[in-house]
Symmetry: C2
Subunit: 239 residues, 2 copies
């Protein structure tokens, strides 16, 4: 789905970083990796750090120039933390993810050397500077960390994110309002039975207990457990 | 500004990952690191990977239990990629960044072991599961990569991001509409002078050229350069 996005690494020094980039990409459903004159590749460190994303490494294209690596790309974004003498149009990772979401053009995401980034003549090949917001006092991200953030933004923008909040993938159905009212009645009755509830302040206490249990969004299993506790508490009091 | 967010690493195996976490945090303006029973710490690999964020390592607290590490925290978020038998309320990194932005409570961001994450009894100490959207087919992020994404979201939500798009930090002022009209007149005259402009299709060509140069948002320096080219082109034709 994100196969039109090509991650292009220019003259990477440490093969471990190439492996970490492959892993970061695959985590976000991306697999198009292009390497421009890597210092050491293939290399055991790359495979080790790829940690299961070795298919991305295996399929990676190796090029002798950035021009060749981006030849089929319509949009070229160059990651850069440095300020340049000549300003260059820039987009943040999030803006880029939004702007080119669902596009069919090939988009190159170009990342420079670990220590010195992209040279000016390489930036000249880019349409936009790709910027990752960060502390300006300490703005050099690790190569794989930068790729991770950019690929994460692309993945989120692609809408493949699966829902997983309470209620969506909860293993038990949530209690209905009617079930909750039954519980609150039972709770109130139990508090009276065990002698906890002073009638004059029962209203305020019940409001607080309602707020508490409404906030937690009980599921029906939890409701069963609580009502079981209430029943035993009532019976215990009878003995 | 983000000092109430505490990154807590539980039983990290590789000291290099601890260093990479420190760097990822500092890139995003964070410095509160807590380590629960790290296998090897301090360690040369941690310092090497921290790459200038060794102050974060130096100040890191080391604890013998997760309980101790989170004792002063009001909200505890546990990063987890695994699905659990008992569902746990979860928030994505972006939701968490929005929800606890600007809060004054201490918030623990707990990250588990490289291979096995957090154990269930550790998750029991968490209020929410902290989830990073990713490909469910390959969902295990490198420890530092996971910390990077979460800290990045917190940084972006904190509003410290500095603007850097064209027009904001551009080194020259952009051309005004009046300056652009002068340029278009000059361009049209030059095209006539050099015999390029056929009067019958000049309107359509001028519209396309307007679209092109309006889209690029010329600054006044660029405008000067283009008008210089036009002048030389006109003079050349006169010779």
């Amino acid at each position: 789905m994100l196969s039109n996005f090509k991650v292009v690494l220019v003259e990477t020094s440490h093969p471990g970083n190439i492996g970490a980039v492959a892993r970061a990409m695959k985590n976000m459903g991306m697999d198009q990796l292009r390497l421009v004159s890597p210092k050491l590749f293939p290399h055991a460190d790359a495979t080790a750090r790829a940690s299961g994303a070795d298919d991305v490494l295996r399929e990676a294209g190796v090029y002798s120039s950035l021009q060749d690596a981006i030849a089929d790309c319509q949009v070229v974004l160059g990651a850069s933390a440095r300020d340049r003498t000549i300003s260059w149009p820039s987009v943040t990772a999030r803006e880029a993810a939004g702007r080119w979401r669902g596009c069919i053009e090939n988009i190159a995401l170009v990342f420079g050397r670990e220590n010195s980034g992209l040279k000016n003549h390489e930036l000249d090949l880019c349409h936009y500077l790709l910027r990752i917001p960060c502390d300006p006092e300490y703005s050099s991200l690790n190569l794989a960390a930068a790729v991770q953030v950019v690929c994460y933004e692309l993945f989120v923008a692609s809408g493949q994110e699966y829902p997983n909040t309470i209620g969506d993938q909860w293993e038990e159905p949530l209690a209905t309002a009617e079930q909750m009212e039954g519980f609150y009645l039972h709770l109130q009755q139990t508090m009276a039975d065990i002698g906890f509830l002073h009638p004059e302040r029962s209203k305020s206490i019940m409001r607080r207990l309602r707020r508490l249990f409404n906030r937690t969004q009980l599921d029906i299993k939890e409701l069963d457990i609580l009502r079981g506790i209430l029943r035993f508490s009532q019976n215990h009091n009878l003995k």
